[in-house]
Amino acid sequence: MKNSTAYLIIVMVVISLASGLVLALTYNFTIPSINEIAAREQEQAILAVIPGATKYETYESAPFPMYKGIDDSGSIKGVAYVIEGGGFQGIIKIMVGIDMQNQALTGIKILSHSETPGLGARITEDWFQSQFAGKSINDAFVARQDVEAITGATISTKAVSRLLKESIPNVVEQYKTLGGGK
Protein backbone atom coordinates (compact mmCIF):
# COMPACT_ATOMS: atom_id res chain seq x y z
CA MET A 1 0.00 0.00 0.00
CA LYS A 2 2.83 2.30 0.94
CA ASN A 3 4.37 2.21 -2.52
CA SER A 4 1.18 2.54 -4.52
CA THR A 5 0.93 5.49 -6.85
CA ALA A 6 -2.11 6.80 -5.11
CA TYR A 7 -0.32 6.88 -1.79
CA LEU A 8 2.66 8.70 -3.35
CA ILE A 9 0.36 11.32 -4.76
CA ILE A 10 -1.54 11.73 -1.54
CA VAL A 11 1.65 12.20 0.46
CA MET A 12 3.01 14.78 -1.94
CA VAL A 13 -0.28 16.65 -2.06
CA VAL A 14 -0.51 16.72 1.70
CA ILE A 15 3.05 17.94 2.09
CA SER A 16 2.54 20.58 -0.57
CA LEU A 17 -0.69 21.78 0.99
CA ALA A 18 0.89 21.96 4.41
CA SER A 19 3.81 23.85 2.98
CA GLY A 20 1.52 26.23 1.13
CA LEU A 21 -0.50 26.86 4.24
CA VAL A 22 2.53 27.62 6.37
CA LEU A 23 3.94 29.92 3.72
CA ALA A 24 0.67 31.75 3.25
CA LEU A 25 0.48 32.42 6.97
CA THR A 26 4.06 33.59 7.14
CA TYR A 27 3.58 35.79 4.10
CA ASN A 28 0.50 37.43 5.53
CA PHE A 29 2.33 37.96 8.74
CA THR A 30 5.43 39.57 7.18
CA ILE A 31 4.14 41.37 4.12
CA PRO A 32 3.03 44.59 5.82
CA SER A 33 6.48 45.06 7.23
CA ILE A 34 8.16 44.21 3.91
CA ASN A 35 5.99 46.62 1.97
CA GLU A 36 6.53 49.30 4.55
CA ILE A 37 10.28 48.89 4.27
CA ALA A 38 10.17 49.08 0.48
CA ALA A 39 8.01 52.18 0.54
CA ARG A 40 10.19 53.82 3.15
CA GLU A 41 13.30 53.15 1.16
CA GLN A 42 11.79 54.58 -2.00
CA GLU A 43 10.61 57.68 -0.19
CA GLN A 44 13.96 58.15 1.46
CA ALA A 45 15.74 57.89 -1.86
CA ILE A 46 13.43 60.36 -3.57
CA LEU A 47 13.50 62.86 -0.77
CA ALA A 48 17.28 62.51 -0.55
CA VAL A 49 17.79 63.61 -4.14
CA ILE A 50 15.24 66.44 -3.93
CA PRO A 51 16.26 68.59 -1.00
CA GLY A 52 13.37 70.44 0.57
CA ALA A 53 10.73 67.97 -0.50
CA THR A 54 8.77 66.33 2.28
CA LYS A 55 6.58 64.03 0.26
CA TYR A 56 6.41 62.73 -3.26
CA GLU A 57 3.91 61.72 -5.92
CA THR A 58 4.42 59.24 -8.72
CA TYR A 59 3.93 60.09 -12.38
CA GLU A 60 1.77 57.08 -13.14
CA SER A 61 1.91 57.51 -16.90
CA ALA A 62 5.66 57.89 -17.25
CA PRO A 63 7.39 55.04 -19.13
CA PHE A 64 10.01 54.72 -16.37
CA PRO A 65 9.83 55.35 -12.61
CA MET A 66 9.44 59.11 -12.22
CA TYR A 67 8.33 61.09 -9.21
CA LYS A 68 7.74 64.67 -8.19
CA GLY A 69 8.95 65.92 -4.85
CA ILE A 70 6.64 68.32 -3.02
CA ASP A 71 7.37 70.43 0.01
CA ASP A 72 5.08 71.28 2.89
CA SER A 73 3.64 74.27 1.05
CA GLY A 74 2.60 72.01 -1.81
CA SER A 75 5.01 73.41 -4.38
CA ILE A 76 7.06 71.12 -6.55
CA LYS A 77 10.69 71.10 -5.51
CA GLY A 78 11.90 68.81 -8.25
CA VAL A 79 11.55 65.65 -10.29
CA ALA A 80 13.18 62.36 -9.40
CA TYR A 81 13.59 59.36 -11.65
CA VAL A 82 15.39 56.01 -11.71
CA ILE A 83 17.90 55.20 -14.42
CA GLU A 84 19.86 51.99 -14.79
CA GLY A 85 22.61 50.91 -17.13
CA GLY A 86 25.88 49.04 -17.49
CA GLY A 87 28.79 49.82 -15.23
CA PHE A 88 32.12 48.04 -15.03
CA GLN A 89 30.79 44.66 -13.96
CA GLY A 90 27.01 44.94 -13.93
CA ILE A 91 24.00 47.17 -13.75
CA ILE A 92 24.17 50.45 -11.85
CA LYS A 93 20.82 51.78 -10.66
CA ILE A 94 20.63 55.46 -9.77
CA MET A 95 17.93 57.74 -8.37
CA VAL A 96 18.39 61.20 -9.89
CA GLY A 97 16.81 64.43 -8.78
CA ILE A 98 16.35 67.44 -11.09
CA ASP A 99 15.16 70.95 -10.33
CA MET A 100 13.33 71.78 -13.56
CA GLN A 101 13.01 75.46 -12.73
CA ASN A 102 16.73 76.00 -12.33
CA GLN A 103 17.71 73.41 -14.89
CA ALA A 104 20.03 71.76 -12.38
CA LEU A 105 20.62 68.44 -10.71
CA THR A 106 19.58 68.40 -7.09
CA GLY A 107 21.25 65.15 -6.17
CA ILE A 108 21.83 61.53 -7.09
CA LYS A 109 21.71 58.33 -5.07
CA ILE A 110 23.13 54.99 -6.16
CA LEU A 111 20.38 52.47 -5.43
CA SER A 112 22.23 49.33 -6.41
CA HIS A 113 25.36 48.31 -8.27
CA SER A 114 27.84 45.48 -8.58
CA GLU A 115 31.05 47.44 -9.05
CA THR A 116 34.37 46.24 -7.63
CA PRO A 117 34.45 46.67 -3.86
CA GLY A 118 37.02 49.26 -2.85
CA LEU A 119 37.16 50.67 -6.37
CA GLY A 120 34.07 51.21 -8.47
CA ALA A 121 31.94 50.60 -5.41
CA ARG A 122 33.15 53.95 -4.14
CA ILE A 123 30.52 55.58 -6.36
CA THR A 124 28.27 55.16 -3.34
CA GLU A 125 30.52 57.36 -1.22
CA ASP A 126 29.13 60.77 -0.25
CA TRP A 127 31.84 62.92 -1.79
CA PHE A 128 31.24 61.28 -5.14
CA GLN A 129 27.45 61.46 -5.13
CA SER A 130 27.24 64.94 -3.71
CA GLN A 131 29.43 66.50 -6.39
CA PHE A 132 26.53 66.16 -8.85
CA ALA A 133 24.13 68.32 -6.85
CA GLY A 134 23.94 71.79 -8.40
CA LYS A 135 25.39 70.80 -11.74
CA SER A 136 23.51 72.12 -14.77
CA ILE A 137 21.48 69.55 -16.63
CA ASN A 138 23.31 70.71 -19.73
CA ASP A 139 26.66 69.87 -18.22
CA ALA A 140 28.92 67.67 -20.34
CA PHE A 141 29.65 65.33 -17.41
CA VAL A 142 33.12 64.52 -18.67
CA ALA A 143 34.94 62.38 -16.14
CA ARG A 144 38.09 63.98 -14.73
CA GLN A 145 37.10 67.36 -16.15
CA ASP A 146 33.59 68.11 -14.96
CA VAL A 147 33.30 65.10 -12.72
CA GLU A 148 35.87 64.14 -10.12
CA ALA A 149 36.79 60.55 -10.88
CA ILE A 150 37.55 57.74 -8.51
CA THR A 151 41.19 56.74 -8.65
CA GLY A 152 41.55 53.43 -10.43
CA ALA A 153 37.87 53.27 -11.30
CA THR A 154 37.54 55.51 -14.31
CA ILE A 155 35.09 53.14 -15.93
CA SER A 156 32.61 53.24 -13.06
CA THR A 157 32.88 57.03 -12.89
CA LYS A 158 32.29 57.29 -16.58
CA ALA A 159 29.33 54.91 -16.39
CA VAL A 160 27.57 57.15 -13.87
CA SER A 161 28.33 60.25 -15.92
CA ARG A 162 27.15 58.61 -19.10
CA LEU A 163 23.90 57.39 -17.52
CA LEU A 164 23.14 60.91 -16.31
CA LYS A 165 24.00 62.57 -19.58
CA GLU A 166 21.96 60.13 -21.61
CA SER A 167 18.89 60.15 -19.41
CA ILE A 168 18.48 63.85 -18.60
CA PRO A 169 17.13 65.03 -22.01
CA ASN A 170 14.71 62.13 -21.96
CA VAL A 171 13.38 63.10 -18.53
CA VAL A 172 13.09 66.74 -19.49
CA GLU A 173 11.10 65.66 -22.53
CA GLN A 174 8.83 63.44 -20.41
CA TYR A 175 8.38 66.22 -17.91
CA LYS A 176 7.11 68.49 -20.67
CA THR A 177 4.73 65.94 -22.15
CA LEU A 178 3.37 65.05 -18.75
CA GLY A 179 2.37 68.63 -18.32
CA GLY A 180 5.11 70.03 -16.15
CA GLY A 181 4.17 70.75 -12.64
CA LYS A 182 0.44 70.27 -13.04
Binding site: I15, V22, L23, T30, I31, I37, P117, G118, L119
Partner: protein
Protein backbone atom coordinates in the same frame (compact mmCIF):
# COMPACT_ATOMS: atom_id res chain seq x y z
CA UNK B 1 28.52 7.31 19.51
CA UNK B 2 26.10 8.80 22.00
CA UNK B 3 23.81 11.76 21.69
CA UNK B 4 26.58 14.21 22.51
CA UNK B 5 28.62 12.81 19.66
CA UNK B 6 25.80 13.55 17.23
CA UNK B 7 26.03 17.13 18.37
CA UNK B 8 29.73 17.80 18.43
CA UNK B 9 30.71 15.83 15.33
CA UNK B 10 29.44 18.71 13.20
CA UNK B 11 31.62 21.19 15.04
CA UNK B 12 34.90 19.72 13.91
CA UNK B 13 35.21 16.08 12.96
CA UNK B 14 32.53 16.20 10.28
CA UNK B 15 32.48 19.94 9.87
CA UNK B 16 30.47 20.56 6.71
CA UNK B 17 32.79 23.28 5.39
CA UNK B 18 36.31 22.31 6.40
CA UNK B 19 35.91 18.55 6.53
CA UNK B 20 33.17 17.61 4.09
CA UNK B 21 33.59 20.66 1.80
CA UNK B 22 29.84 20.96 1.36
CA UNK B 23 27.63 23.97 0.78
CA UNK B 24 30.36 25.77 -1.09
CA UNK B 25 28.07 28.21 -2.87
CA UNK B 26 27.07 30.25 0.20
CA UNK B 27 30.41 29.56 1.83
CA UNK B 28 32.28 31.26 -0.95
CA UNK B 29 29.74 33.85 -1.98
CA UNK B 30 28.57 35.58 1.16
CA UNK B 31 31.51 35.43 3.53
CA UNK B 32 33.11 38.74 2.57
CA UNK B 33 32.24 40.11 5.99
CA UNK B 34 31.97 38.45 9.38
CA UNK B 35 28.36 39.51 9.94
CA UNK B 36 27.30 37.98 6.63
CA UNK B 37 28.94 34.74 7.64
CA UNK B 38 27.07 34.73 10.93
CA UNK B 39 23.76 35.60 9.29
CA UNK B 40 24.09 33.04 6.56
CA UNK B 41 25.21 30.43 9.05
CA UNK B 42 22.30 31.09 11.37
CA UNK B 43 19.77 31.15 8.55
CA UNK B 44 21.10 27.84 7.35
CA UNK B 45 21.12 26.45 10.87
CA UNK B 46 17.49 27.51 11.30
CA UNK B 47 16.46 25.73 8.12
CA UNK B 48 18.57 22.77 9.07
CA UNK B 49 17.01 22.32 12.49
CA UNK B 50 13.43 22.85 11.28
CA UNK B 51 13.74 20.57 8.29
CA UNK B 52 15.52 17.90 10.32
CA UNK B 53 12.72 17.97 12.89
CA UNK B 54 10.00 17.69 10.27
CA UNK B 55 11.80 15.01 8.31
CA UNK B 56 12.44 12.99 11.46
CA UNK B 57 8.78 13.36 12.44
CA UNK B 58 7.23 12.25 9.20
CA UNK B 59 9.96 9.93 7.94
CA UNK B 60 7.81 6.84 8.31
CA UNK B 61 5.02 8.36 6.27
CA UNK B 62 7.11 9.32 3.28
CA UNK B 63 7.55 6.60 0.67
CA UNK B 64 11.19 6.21 -0.31
CA UNK B 65 10.44 6.88 -3.97
CA UNK B 66 9.42 10.45 -3.36
CA UNK B 67 11.52 11.20 -0.33
CA UNK B 68 13.89 13.62 -2.10
CA UNK B 69 11.09 15.79 -3.58
CA UNK B 70 9.34 15.69 -0.25
CA UNK B 71 12.47 16.83 1.58
CA UNK B 72 13.01 19.57 -0.96
CA UNK B 73 9.48 20.89 -0.40
CA UNK B 74 10.02 20.88 3.35
CA UNK B 75 13.38 22.60 3.05
CA UNK B 76 12.04 25.13 0.57
CA UNK B 77 9.23 25.99 2.92
CA UNK B 78 11.58 26.85 5.75
CA UNK B 79 13.93 28.71 3.44
CA UNK B 80 11.08 30.88 2.26
CA UNK B 81 10.03 31.51 5.85
CA UNK B 82 13.58 32.51 6.70
CA UNK B 83 13.75 34.79 3.69
CA UNK B 84 10.46 36.50 4.51
CA UNK B 85 11.38 37.02 8.14
CA UNK B 86 14.75 38.47 7.23
CA UNK B 87 13.13 40.74 4.65
CA UNK B 88 10.58 41.93 7.14
CA UNK B 89 12.78 42.47 10.16
CA UNK B 90 16.42 42.52 8.98
CA UNK B 91 16.18 44.17 5.56
CA UNK B 92 19.85 45.20 5.47
CA UNK B 93 21.13 41.69 5.97
CA UNK B 94 18.55 40.30 3.60
CA UNK B 95 19.78 42.73 0.93
CA UNK B 96 23.40 41.69 1.36
CA UNK B 97 22.70 37.97 1.40
CA UNK B 98 20.25 38.53 -1.43
CA UNK B 99 19.99 35.61 -3.77
CA UNK B 100 21.86 33.30 -1.45
CA UNK B 101 19.01 32.99 1.02
CA UNK B 102 16.71 31.29 -1.54
CA UNK B 103 19.71 29.25 -2.59
CA UNK B 104 19.85 27.64 0.84
CA UNK B 105 17.32 25.24 -0.70
CA UNK B 106 20.03 23.73 -2.83
CA UNK B 107 22.65 23.79 -0.11
CA UNK B 108 23.66 20.18 -0.08
CA UNK B 109 24.39 20.25 3.65
CA UNK B 110 20.69 20.45 4.41
CA UNK B 111 19.51 17.81 2.01
CA UNK B 112 22.43 15.62 3.05
CA UNK B 113 21.48 15.81 6.73
CA UNK B 114 17.84 15.12 5.95
CA UNK B 115 18.70 12.20 3.76
CA UNK B 116 21.65 10.79 5.68
CA UNK B 117 20.58 11.46 9.23
CA UNK B 118 17.08 12.72 9.98
CA UNK B 119 15.40 10.13 7.80
CA UNK B 120 17.01 7.40 9.88
CA UNK B 121 16.99 8.89 13.37
CA UNK B 122 14.58 10.08 16.00
CA UNK B 123 13.65 13.70 16.54
CA UNK B 124 15.94 14.26 19.51
CA UNK B 125 19.07 13.05 17.72
CA UNK B 126 18.05 14.86 14.56
CA UNK B 127 17.84 18.14 16.43
CA UNK B 128 21.25 17.55 17.97
CA UNK B 129 22.69 16.64 14.57
CA UNK B 130 21.18 19.70 12.94
CA UNK B 131 22.36 21.96 15.74
CA UNK B 132 25.88 20.57 15.53
CA UNK B 133 25.99 20.87 11.77
CA UNK B 134 24.38 24.30 11.86
CA UNK B 135 26.81 25.62 14.43
CA UNK B 136 29.69 23.99 12.59
CA UNK B 137 28.55 25.66 9.40
CA UNK B 138 28.08 28.98 11.17
CA UNK B 139 31.47 29.10 12.83
CA UNK B 140 33.18 28.08 9.61
CA UNK B 141 31.44 30.81 7.65
CA UNK B 142 32.07 33.30 10.42
CA UNK B 143 35.77 32.45 10.50
CA UNK B 144 35.97 32.89 6.74
CA UNK B 145 34.05 36.13 7.05
CA UNK B 146 36.30 37.42 9.81
CA UNK B 147 39.50 36.69 7.92
CA UNK B 148 38.18 38.16 4.70
CA UNK B 149 36.78 41.21 6.43
CA UNK B 150 39.97 41.91 8.34
CA UNK B 151 42.13 41.65 5.25
CA UNK B 152 39.66 43.05 2.78
CA UNK B 153 38.26 45.95 4.75
CA UNK B 154 40.45 46.27 7.81
CA UNK B 155 37.51 45.79 10.13
CA UNK B 156 35.81 43.09 12.12
CA UNK B 157 32.01 43.02 12.41
CA UNK B 158 32.11 46.47 10.94
CA UNK B 159 34.46 47.85 13.60
CA UNK B 160 37.51 49.41 12.02
CA UNK B 161 40.74 47.87 13.25
CA UNK B 162 43.53 49.79 11.62
CA UNK B 163 42.10 53.25 11.14
CA UNK B 164 41.80 55.29 7.99
CA UNK B 165 45.22 54.57 6.55
CA UNK B 166 44.56 50.89 6.03
CA UNK B 167 44.95 49.76 2.44
CA UNK B 168 42.28 47.18 1.70
CA UNK B 169 43.32 43.86 0.23
CA UNK B 170 40.44 43.98 -2.16
CA UNK B 171 40.91 40.44 -3.42
CA UNK B 172 39.66 39.12 -0.09
CA UNK B 173 36.22 40.62 -0.46
CA UNK B 174 35.99 39.34 -4.03
CA UNK B 175 35.19 35.73 -4.98
CA UNK B 176 38.83 34.78 -5.69
CA UNK B 177 39.68 35.74 -2.14
CA UNK B 178 37.00 33.36 -0.89
CA UNK B 179 38.58 30.47 -2.76
CA UNK B 180 42.04 31.41 -1.54
CA UNK B 181 41.01 31.79 2.08
CA UNK B 182 38.98 28.59 2.11
CA UNK B 183 41.73 26.64 0.37
CA UNK B 184 44.38 27.88 2.77
CA UNK B 185 42.17 27.21 5.78
CA UNK B 186 41.44 23.67 4.65
CA UNK B 187 45.13 23.10 4.02
CA UNK B 188 45.93 24.53 7.44
CA UNK B 189 43.36 22.37 9.23
CA UNK B 190 44.42 19.29 7.31
CA UNK B 191 48.03 19.85 8.25
CA UNK B 192 47.15 20.05 11.91
CA UNK B 193 44.56 17.32 11.95
CA UNK B 194 45.68 14.17 13.71
CA UNK B 195 43.66 11.67 11.75
CA UNK B 196 44.39 12.84 8.28
CA UNK B 197 44.13 9.50 6.61
CA UNK B 198 40.73 8.77 8.04
CA UNK B 199 39.30 12.14 7.17
CA UNK B 200 40.63 12.41 3.68
CA UNK B 201 38.25 9.67 2.60
CA UNK B 202 35.26 11.98 2.92
CA UNK B 203 34.11 13.28 -0.43
Amino acid sequence: MGATYEFYKGLWKENPVFRMVMGMCPTLAVTNAAINGVAMGLATAFVLVCSNIVVALIKTLIPSKVRIPAYVIIIATFVTIADLILAAYFPDIQKVLGLFIPLIVVNCVILARAEAFASKSNVRLSILDALGMGIGFTWALTLLGIIREILGMGSIFGISLFGEGYISWIIFILPPGAFLTLGLLIAFFNAFSKNKAEDSCCH
